[in-house]
Amino acid sequence: MSSSPPPSSAAASPSCPKKMIALRSSDGETFEIEEAAALQSKTLENMIDEDCAGTPIPLPNVTGKILAKVVEFCSKHAEPGVDDESLRAWDAEFVNVEQATVFDYILAANFLEIPTLLNLTCNVVADMIRGKTPDEIRKFFNIKSIFSPEEEEEVRRENHWAFE
Protein backbone atom coordinates (compact mmCIF):
# COMPACT_ATOMS: atom_id res chain seq x y z
CA MET A 1 0.00 0.00 0.00
CA SER A 2 1.22 3.57 0.47
CA SER A 3 4.57 4.31 1.98
CA SER A 4 5.26 7.50 3.92
CA PRO A 5 8.40 9.56 3.24
CA PRO A 6 11.33 9.16 5.64
CA PRO A 7 10.66 11.48 8.59
CA SER A 8 14.28 12.47 9.18
CA SER A 9 15.42 16.06 8.87
CA ALA A 10 19.10 15.32 9.50
CA ALA A 11 21.22 14.71 6.44
CA ALA A 12 22.91 11.34 6.05
CA SER A 13 26.62 11.38 5.43
CA PRO A 14 27.64 9.67 2.18
CA SER A 15 29.74 7.04 3.90
CA CYS A 16 27.05 6.15 6.41
CA PRO A 17 23.53 6.25 4.94
CA LYS A 18 20.76 6.17 7.51
CA LYS A 19 19.31 2.72 7.69
CA MET A 20 15.55 2.64 7.20
CA ILE A 21 13.36 -0.02 8.73
CA ALA A 22 10.08 -0.99 7.13
CA LEU A 23 7.03 -1.66 9.27
CA ARG A 24 3.67 -3.08 8.23
CA SER A 25 0.53 -2.27 10.18
CA SER A 26 -2.34 -4.66 10.88
CA ASP A 27 -4.32 -3.18 7.98
CA GLY A 28 -1.49 -3.61 5.49
CA GLU A 29 0.02 -0.09 5.38
CA THR A 30 3.80 0.13 5.16
CA PHE A 31 5.84 2.77 6.99
CA GLU A 32 9.52 3.57 6.96
CA ILE A 33 11.35 4.60 10.07
CA GLU A 34 15.00 5.45 10.66
CA GLU A 35 16.89 2.83 12.63
CA ALA A 36 17.77 5.34 15.36
CA ALA A 37 14.11 6.12 15.84
CA ALA A 38 13.10 2.46 15.69
CA LEU A 39 15.52 1.61 18.47
CA GLN A 40 13.29 3.52 20.90
CA SER A 41 11.13 0.41 20.74
CA LYS A 42 12.62 -2.54 22.56
CA THR A 43 10.40 -4.84 20.51
CA LEU A 44 11.74 -3.43 17.25
CA GLU A 45 15.28 -3.41 18.59
CA ASN A 46 15.07 -7.17 19.12
CA MET A 47 13.57 -7.71 15.68
CA ILE A 48 16.12 -5.55 13.91
CA ASP A 49 18.94 -7.63 15.31
CA GLU A 50 17.52 -10.67 13.58
CA ASP A 51 16.81 -8.67 10.43
CA CYS A 52 15.92 -10.64 7.35
CA ALA A 53 17.13 -8.47 4.48
CA GLY A 54 14.75 -5.58 4.93
CA THR A 55 11.35 -7.28 4.71
CA PRO A 56 8.74 -5.13 6.45
CA ILE A 57 8.27 -6.09 10.07
CA PRO A 58 4.62 -7.06 10.57
CA LEU A 59 2.89 -5.44 13.54
CA PRO A 60 -0.48 -7.18 13.78
CA ASN A 61 -1.48 -5.27 16.93
CA VAL A 62 -1.17 -1.77 15.53
CA THR A 63 -3.35 -0.10 12.90
CA GLY A 64 -1.93 2.17 10.22
CA LYS A 65 -3.52 5.23 11.77
CA ILE A 66 -1.78 4.66 15.09
CA LEU A 67 1.49 3.36 13.65
CA ALA A 68 1.89 6.56 11.66
CA LYS A 69 1.75 8.57 14.88
CA VAL A 70 4.06 6.19 16.72
CA VAL A 71 6.63 6.56 13.94
CA GLU A 72 6.25 10.33 14.24
CA PHE A 73 6.83 10.16 18.00
CA CYS A 74 9.90 7.97 17.79
CA SER A 75 11.39 10.05 15.01
CA LYS A 76 10.90 13.24 16.99
CA HIS A 77 12.49 11.72 20.06
CA ALA A 78 15.47 10.48 18.04
CA GLU A 79 16.08 13.96 16.60
CA PRO A 80 19.36 15.44 17.84
CA GLY A 81 19.58 18.89 19.39
CA VAL A 82 16.00 19.34 20.59
CA ASP A 83 15.93 21.11 23.97
CA ASP A 84 13.89 19.71 26.84
CA GLU A 85 11.33 22.48 26.90
CA SER A 86 10.49 22.22 23.18
CA LEU A 87 10.24 18.45 23.40
CA ARG A 88 7.89 18.73 26.38
CA ALA A 89 5.69 21.16 24.47
CA TRP A 90 5.73 18.85 21.43
CA ASP A 91 4.77 15.89 23.63
CA ALA A 92 1.89 17.86 25.13
CA GLU A 93 0.53 18.56 21.66
CA PHE A 94 1.04 14.95 20.62
CA VAL A 95 -1.24 13.67 23.37
CA ASN A 96 -3.80 16.43 22.92
CA VAL A 97 -6.19 13.99 21.24
CA GLU A 98 -9.41 12.23 22.13
CA GLN A 99 -9.58 9.58 24.81
CA ALA A 100 -9.87 6.62 22.44
CA THR A 101 -6.71 7.65 20.61
CA VAL A 102 -4.70 8.00 23.81
CA PHE A 103 -5.79 4.48 24.73
CA ASP A 104 -4.61 3.23 21.34
CA TYR A 105 -1.25 4.94 21.91
CA ILE A 106 -0.95 3.22 25.28
CA LEU A 107 -1.58 -0.21 23.83
CA ALA A 108 0.85 0.41 20.98
CA ALA A 109 3.54 1.76 23.32
CA ASN A 110 3.09 -1.29 25.51
CA PHE A 111 3.23 -3.76 22.63
CA LEU A 112 6.23 -2.04 21.06
CA GLU A 113 7.87 -1.42 24.45
CA ILE A 114 8.52 2.29 24.03
CA PRO A 115 9.03 3.56 27.60
CA THR A 116 8.94 7.28 26.74
CA LEU A 117 5.62 6.98 24.91
CA LEU A 118 4.15 4.67 27.53
CA ASN A 119 5.08 7.04 30.36
CA LEU A 120 3.74 10.05 28.47
CA THR A 121 0.40 8.52 27.58
CA CYS A 122 -0.19 6.73 30.88
CA ASN A 123 0.54 9.93 32.79
CA VAL A 124 -2.03 11.73 30.65
CA VAL A 125 -4.70 9.23 31.61
CA ALA A 126 -3.52 9.16 35.23
CA ASP A 127 -4.07 12.93 35.28
CA MET A 128 -7.61 12.37 34.01
CA ILE A 129 -8.25 9.99 36.89
CA ARG A 130 -6.60 12.10 39.60
CA GLY A 131 -9.05 13.78 41.94
CA LYS A 132 -12.12 12.03 40.55
CA THR A 133 -14.58 10.03 42.61
CA PRO A 134 -15.41 6.49 41.47
CA ASP A 135 -18.65 7.77 39.98
CA GLU A 136 -16.90 10.51 38.06
CA ILE A 137 -14.40 7.96 36.77
CA ARG A 138 -17.27 5.77 35.56
CA LYS A 139 -18.87 8.62 33.68
CA PHE A 140 -15.62 9.83 32.18
CA PHE A 141 -14.59 6.43 30.81
CA ASN A 142 -18.07 5.08 30.12
CA ILE A 143 -17.78 2.22 32.58
CA LYS A 144 -20.71 0.34 33.99
CA SER A 145 -20.54 -0.71 37.59
CA ILE A 146 -21.98 -4.16 38.23
CA PHE A 147 -21.19 -4.51 41.91
CA SER A 148 -23.72 -6.51 43.88
CA PRO A 149 -24.87 -4.69 47.04
CA GLU A 150 -22.71 -7.05 49.15
CA GLU A 151 -19.62 -6.43 47.01
CA GLU A 152 -20.17 -2.70 47.16
CA GLU A 153 -20.47 -2.86 50.93
CA GLU A 154 -17.26 -4.90 51.17
CA VAL A 155 -15.28 -2.45 49.07
CA ARG A 156 -16.57 0.51 51.09
CA ARG A 157 -15.61 -1.24 54.32
CA GLU A 158 -12.10 -1.92 53.05
CA ASN A 159 -11.60 1.72 52.17
CA HIS A 160 -13.46 3.34 55.04
CA TRP A 161 -10.20 4.65 56.55
CA ALA A 162 -9.71 6.86 53.50
CA PHE A 163 -12.95 8.73 53.99
CA GLU A 164 -13.57 9.35 57.63
Binding site: A100, F103, R130, P134, V155, A162
Partner: protein, 314 residues
Protein backbone atom coordinates in the same frame (compact mmCIF):
# COMPACT_ATOMS: atom_id res chain seq x y z
CA UNK B 1 -17.69 6.95 18.36
CA UNK B 2 -20.78 4.85 19.12
CA UNK B 3 -22.54 5.64 22.35
CA UNK B 4 -22.03 2.78 24.75
CA UNK B 5 -25.31 1.32 25.88
CA UNK B 6 -25.41 0.33 29.53
CA UNK B 7 -27.90 -2.43 28.80
CA UNK B 8 -25.54 -4.54 26.77
CA UNK B 9 -23.44 -6.98 28.70
CA UNK B 10 -21.77 -8.82 25.84
CA UNK B 11 -20.02 -7.58 22.74
CA UNK B 12 -21.52 -8.16 19.33
CA UNK B 13 -19.14 -9.25 16.55
CA UNK B 14 -19.02 -5.74 15.02
CA UNK B 15 -17.52 -4.38 18.23
CA UNK B 16 -14.34 -6.41 17.90
CA UNK B 17 -12.22 -3.53 16.58
CA UNK B 18 -8.59 -3.30 17.47
CA UNK B 19 -8.15 -0.52 19.99
CA UNK B 20 -11.80 -0.23 20.99
CA UNK B 21 -13.22 -1.77 24.15
CA UNK B 22 -14.58 -5.13 23.16
CA UNK B 23 -17.27 -5.12 25.79
CA UNK B 24 -19.25 -1.89 26.16
CA UNK B 25 -19.43 -0.74 29.78
CA UNK B 26 -16.17 -2.49 30.64
CA UNK B 27 -12.99 -0.52 31.25
CA UNK B 28 -10.65 -0.20 28.28
CA UNK B 29 -7.66 -2.54 28.33
CA UNK B 30 -5.33 0.44 28.38
CA UNK B 31 -6.66 1.48 31.78
CA UNK B 32 -5.00 -1.57 33.29
CA UNK B 33 -1.65 -0.29 32.04
CA UNK B 34 -2.30 3.08 33.67
CA UNK B 35 -2.80 1.62 37.16
CA UNK B 36 0.91 1.63 38.15
CA UNK B 37 0.97 5.39 37.43
CA UNK B 38 -1.68 6.22 40.02
CA UNK B 39 -1.06 7.38 43.54
CA UNK B 40 -2.85 5.58 46.36
CA UNK B 41 -5.91 7.84 46.25
CA UNK B 42 -6.28 7.06 42.55
CA UNK B 43 -5.96 3.32 43.15
CA UNK B 44 -8.61 3.40 45.87
CA UNK B 45 -11.04 5.33 43.69
CA UNK B 46 -10.43 3.06 40.70
CA UNK B 47 -10.97 -0.03 42.85
CA UNK B 48 -14.52 1.13 43.52
CA UNK B 49 -15.40 1.75 39.89
CA UNK B 50 -16.32 -1.76 38.75
CA UNK B 51 -15.64 -5.41 39.48
CA UNK B 52 -13.01 -5.92 36.77
CA UNK B 53 -10.90 -3.00 38.00
CA UNK B 54 -11.34 -4.15 41.58
CA UNK B 55 -10.15 -7.61 40.55
CA UNK B 56 -7.26 -6.20 38.53
CA UNK B 57 -6.02 -4.40 41.64
CA UNK B 58 -6.55 -7.44 43.81
CA UNK B 59 -4.80 -9.93 41.53
CA UNK B 60 -1.95 -7.83 40.22
CA UNK B 61 1.16 -6.76 42.08
CA UNK B 62 2.34 -4.14 39.55
CA UNK B 63 0.08 -1.24 40.63
CA UNK B 64 1.34 -1.59 44.20
CA UNK B 65 5.10 -1.50 43.66
CA UNK B 66 5.47 2.30 43.71
CA UNK B 67 3.33 3.50 46.56
CA UNK B 68 2.63 7.24 46.64
CA UNK B 69 0.59 8.53 49.55
CA UNK B 70 -0.22 12.21 49.25
CA UNK B 71 -3.15 14.57 49.65
CA UNK B 72 -5.88 13.86 50.69
CA UNK B 73 -4.78 10.58 52.21
CA UNK B 74 -1.63 11.86 53.93
CA UNK B 75 -3.26 12.84 57.18
CA UNK B 76 -5.29 9.61 57.37
CA UNK B 77 -2.40 7.26 56.77
CA UNK B 78 -1.34 5.46 59.94
CA UNK B 79 1.03 2.58 60.70
CA UNK B 80 -1.62 -0.12 60.63
CA UNK B 81 -3.10 0.90 57.29
CA UNK B 82 0.36 1.40 55.82
CA UNK B 83 1.41 -2.11 56.73
CA UNK B 84 -1.75 -3.50 55.18
CA UNK B 85 -1.48 -1.51 51.95
CA UNK B 86 2.21 -2.27 51.46
CA UNK B 87 1.49 -5.97 51.89
CA UNK B 88 -0.19 -5.88 48.48
CA UNK B 89 3.27 -5.61 46.96
CA UNK B 90 4.08 -9.10 48.21
CA UNK B 91 7.44 -8.01 49.54
CA UNK B 92 8.50 -6.44 46.23
CA UNK B 93 7.81 -2.77 47.04
CA UNK B 94 10.29 -0.54 45.20
CA UNK B 95 9.17 3.00 46.01
CA UNK B 96 7.76 3.99 49.38
CA UNK B 97 6.41 7.50 48.97
CA UNK B 98 4.89 9.01 52.10
CA UNK B 99 4.31 12.73 51.67
CA UNK B 100 3.35 14.62 54.82
CA UNK B 101 2.06 11.47 56.48
CA UNK B 102 2.47 12.81 59.97
CA UNK B 103 0.96 9.83 61.78
CA UNK B 104 3.57 7.35 60.61
CA UNK B 105 6.00 6.37 63.36
CA UNK B 106 9.52 4.96 63.32
CA UNK B 107 8.09 1.57 64.30
CA UNK B 108 5.62 1.52 61.44
CA UNK B 109 8.27 2.52 58.95
CA UNK B 110 10.66 -0.13 60.19
CA UNK B 111 8.02 -2.87 59.89
CA UNK B 112 7.33 -1.94 56.27
CA UNK B 113 11.05 -1.83 55.52
CA UNK B 114 11.69 -5.22 57.04
CA UNK B 115 8.95 -6.76 54.94
CA UNK B 116 10.07 -5.04 51.74
CA UNK B 117 13.84 -5.30 51.44
CA UNK B 118 13.90 -4.22 47.79
CA UNK B 119 12.83 -0.62 48.37
CA UNK B 120 15.21 1.66 46.50
CA UNK B 121 13.35 4.97 46.78
CA UNK B 122 12.44 6.12 50.25
CA UNK B 123 10.37 9.32 50.36
CA UNK B 124 9.21 10.55 53.74
CA UNK B 125 9.19 14.36 53.47
CA UNK B 126 7.00 16.07 56.02
CA UNK B 127 6.48 12.85 57.98
CA UNK B 128 6.88 14.63 61.26
CA UNK B 129 6.13 11.52 63.29
CA UNK B 130 9.49 10.11 62.23
CA UNK B 131 12.84 10.88 63.80
CA UNK B 132 16.18 11.18 61.98
CA UNK B 133 17.35 8.09 63.85
CA UNK B 134 14.30 6.16 62.69
CA UNK B 135 15.02 7.03 59.07
CA UNK B 136 18.68 6.10 59.47
CA UNK B 137 17.68 2.74 60.93
CA UNK B 138 15.39 2.12 57.99
CA UNK B 139 18.12 3.00 55.52
CA UNK B 140 20.64 0.78 57.33
CA UNK B 141 18.21 -2.14 57.23
CA UNK B 142 17.60 -1.66 53.52
CA UNK B 143 21.28 -1.48 52.72
CA UNK B 144 22.21 -4.50 54.79
CA UNK B 145 21.75 -7.09 52.06
CA UNK B 146 23.36 -5.43 49.08
CA UNK B 147 20.34 -3.28 48.19
CA UNK B 148 21.58 0.12 47.01
CA UNK B 149 19.21 3.03 47.58
CA UNK B 150 18.68 5.37 44.67
CA UNK B 151 16.85 8.30 46.20
CA UNK B 152 15.80 9.58 49.64
CA UNK B 153 13.58 12.52 50.57
CA UNK B 154 13.46 13.73 54.15
CA UNK B 155 12.78 17.47 53.95
CA UNK B 156 10.57 18.51 56.86
CA UNK B 157 11.55 15.84 59.35
CA UNK B 158 12.24 17.51 62.67
CA UNK B 159 15.70 17.82 64.20
CA UNK B 160 17.72 16.97 61.14
CA UNK B 161 21.40 17.66 61.80
CA UNK B 162 24.53 17.62 59.69
CA UNK B 163 25.66 14.26 61.03
CA UNK B 164 22.37 12.63 60.04
CA UNK B 165 22.86 13.87 56.50
CA UNK B 166 26.36 12.51 56.37
CA UNK B 167 25.20 9.05 57.41
CA UNK B 168 22.37 9.04 54.87
CA UNK B 169 24.57 10.32 52.07
CA UNK B 170 27.00 7.49 52.65
CA UNK B 171 24.28 4.96 51.95
CA UNK B 172 22.97 6.53 48.77
CA UNK B 173 26.00 7.83 46.99
CA UNK B 174 27.40 4.40 46.38
CA UNK B 175 24.89 3.95 43.57
CA UNK B 176 26.77 4.45 40.28
CA UNK B 177 23.58 5.68 38.57
CA UNK B 178 23.28 8.74 40.81
CA UNK B 179 26.93 9.81 40.65
CA UNK B 180 26.52 10.99 37.05
CA UNK B 181 23.37 12.98 37.70
CA UNK B 182 23.51 16.77 37.43
CA UNK B 183 20.32 18.15 38.82
CA UNK B 184 18.46 20.94 37.10
CA UNK B 185 15.54 21.08 39.48
CA UNK B 186 14.92 24.67 40.35
CA UNK B 187 12.83 26.33 42.98
CA UNK B 188 9.19 26.61 42.01
CA UNK B 189 9.35 24.53 38.87
CA UNK B 190 7.30 21.39 38.89
CA UNK B 191 8.68 18.00 39.64
CA UNK B 192 10.82 17.20 42.59
CA UNK B 193 13.81 15.34 41.30
CA UNK B 194 13.53 11.58 41.79
CA UNK B 195 17.12 10.91 40.82
CA UNK B 196 18.93 13.20 43.24
CA UNK B 197 20.20 10.98 46.03
CA UNK B 198 19.05 13.31 48.81
CA UNK B 199 16.61 16.21 48.70
CA UNK B 200 18.32 18.26 51.41
CA UNK B 201 21.82 19.58 52.01
CA UNK B 202 23.57 21.99 54.33
CA UNK B 203 22.75 25.49 53.11
CA UNK B 204 26.08 27.24 52.43
CA UNK B 205 24.68 30.47 53.85
CA UNK B 206 22.82 29.56 57.04
CA UNK B 207 24.39 26.15 57.67
CA UNK B 208 21.04 24.53 58.34
CA UNK B 209 19.68 21.34 56.78
CA UNK B 210 17.44 22.60 53.98
CA UNK B 211 16.48 22.15 50.35
CA UNK B 212 19.17 24.08 48.51
CA UNK B 213 18.54 25.60 45.10
CA UNK B 214 20.81 26.83 42.35
CA UNK B 215 20.00 29.72 40.07
CA UNK B 216 18.73 28.76 36.61
CA UNK B 217 20.37 31.83 35.09
CA UNK B 218 24.06 31.60 34.24
CA UNK B 219 24.91 35.18 35.13
CA UNK B 220 22.15 36.06 37.53
CA UNK B 221 21.80 39.31 39.43
CA UNK B 222 23.47 38.01 42.58
CA UNK B 223 26.47 36.56 40.76
CA UNK B 224 26.89 39.75 38.81
CA UNK B 225 26.46 42.29 41.59
CA UNK B 226 28.38 40.43 44.22
CA UNK B 227 30.92 38.76 41.93
CA UNK B 228 29.99 35.27 43.10
CA UNK B 229 30.77 32.07 41.28
CA UNK B 230 27.53 30.45 42.33
CA UNK B 231 24.06 31.47 43.44
CA UNK B 232 23.18 28.72 45.82
CA UNK B 233 21.17 28.65 49.02
CA UNK B 234 17.92 27.68 50.69
CA UNK B 235 14.72 29.61 50.07
CA UNK B 236 15.06 31.50 53.36
CA UNK B 237 18.51 32.78 52.44
CA UNK B 238 17.93 33.54 48.76
CA UNK B 239 14.39 34.54 47.76
CA UNK B 240 13.46 33.10 44.37
CA UNK B 241 10.82 33.59 41.73
CA UNK B 242 8.14 30.92 42.11
CA UNK B 243 7.85 30.52 38.34
CA UNK B 244 11.36 30.43 36.98
CA UNK B 245 13.51 30.01 40.07
CA UNK B 246 15.64 33.09 39.42
CA UNK B 247 16.98 34.85 42.49
CA UNK B 248 15.23 38.07 43.49
CA UNK B 249 17.16 40.82 45.26
CA UNK B 250 15.67 41.87 48.62
CA UNK B 251 15.19 45.42 47.28
CA UNK B 252 12.91 44.15 44.52
CA UNK B 253 10.81 41.94 46.76
CA UNK B 254 8.15 44.55 47.48
CA UNK B 255 7.57 45.40 43.84
CA UNK B 256 7.51 41.87 42.51
CA UNK B 257 4.85 40.51 44.82
CA UNK B 258 1.90 38.50 43.62
CA UNK B 259 -1.65 38.54 44.96
CA UNK B 260 -1.07 35.07 46.32
CA UNK B 261 2.00 36.43 48.21
CA UNK B 262 4.41 34.34 46.13
CA UNK B 263 7.59 36.01 44.94
CA UNK B 264 8.06 36.78 41.27
CA UNK B 265 11.08 38.08 39.41
CA UNK B 266 10.57 41.21 37.35
CA UNK B 267 10.61 39.32 34.05
CA UNK B 268 7.87 36.88 35.07
CA UNK B 269 5.94 39.67 36.79
CA UNK B 270 5.80 41.67 33.57
CA UNK B 271 4.37 38.77 31.58
CA UNK B 272 1.39 38.09 33.83
CA UNK B 273 -2.03 39.81 33.66
CA UNK B 274 -2.61 42.24 36.54
CA UNK B 275 -5.55 43.10 38.73
CA UNK B 276 -7.27 46.32 37.65
CA UNK B 277 -7.14 47.73 41.18
CA UNK B 278 -3.91 46.74 42.87
CA UNK B 279 -1.88 46.01 39.73
CA UNK B 280 -0.60 42.72 41.10
CA UNK B 281 -0.69 39.42 39.22
CA UNK B 282 -1.45 35.89 40.31
CA UNK B 283 1.34 33.42 39.78
CA UNK B 284 0.41 30.81 37.16
CA UNK B 285 -0.33 28.14 39.74
CA UNK B 286 -2.81 30.24 41.70
CA UNK B 287 -4.30 31.90 38.66
CA UNK B 288 -6.51 28.95 37.78
CA UNK B 289 -10.14 29.70 38.38
CA UNK B 290 -9.45 33.23 39.52
CA UNK B 291 -9.18 35.09 36.23
CA UNK B 292 -12.18 36.51 34.47
CA UNK B 293 -13.68 33.66 32.45
CA UNK B 294 -14.96 35.91 29.69
CA UNK B 295 -11.35 36.84 28.98
CA UNK B 296 -12.03 40.55 28.83
CA UNK B 297 -9.22 43.02 29.26
CA UNK B 298 -8.73 43.02 32.99
CA UNK B 299 -9.78 41.25 36.14
CA UNK B 300 -10.29 42.12 39.76
CA UNK B 301 -8.46 39.93 42.24
CA UNK B 302 -10.27 38.36 45.18
CA UNK B 303 -8.77 40.81 47.67
CA UNK B 304 -9.80 43.89 45.75
CA UNK B 305 -13.19 42.42 44.88
CA UNK B 306 -14.13 42.73 48.55
CA UNK B 307 -13.38 46.45 48.55
CA UNK B 308 -15.18 46.90 45.27
CA UNK B 309 -18.38 45.44 46.70
CA UNK B 310 -18.14 47.69 49.75
CA UNK B 311 -17.76 50.79 47.57
CA UNK B 312 -20.86 49.95 45.57
CA UNK B 313 -22.94 49.50 48.71
CA UNK B 314 -21.88 52.91 49.98
Amino acid sequence: MPNLSFNVDHASPEDENIGEPTVPGQPHEALLLVLPYLSLSGLIAVGEVCTSLRDALRDDVLPWLELIVDDPLSRRMCDEILIEITSKANGKLRTLGLFNCMKITDGGLQTVIERNPLINKLYVPGCTGLTPEGVINAVKTLSAHGNILQSIKINGIYNLQKQHLQVLQSYVQENPKTLEHKCSTHFGLEGDCNICPLDVEICPKCNEVRKVFICPIETCVRKRDRRLSECRGCSSCIPRCIQCGACVEPDDLEEAEAICADILCMRCWLQLPKCDFCNKPYCKQHAEGQLNPSGSRGFVCELCAVYEEDDIDV
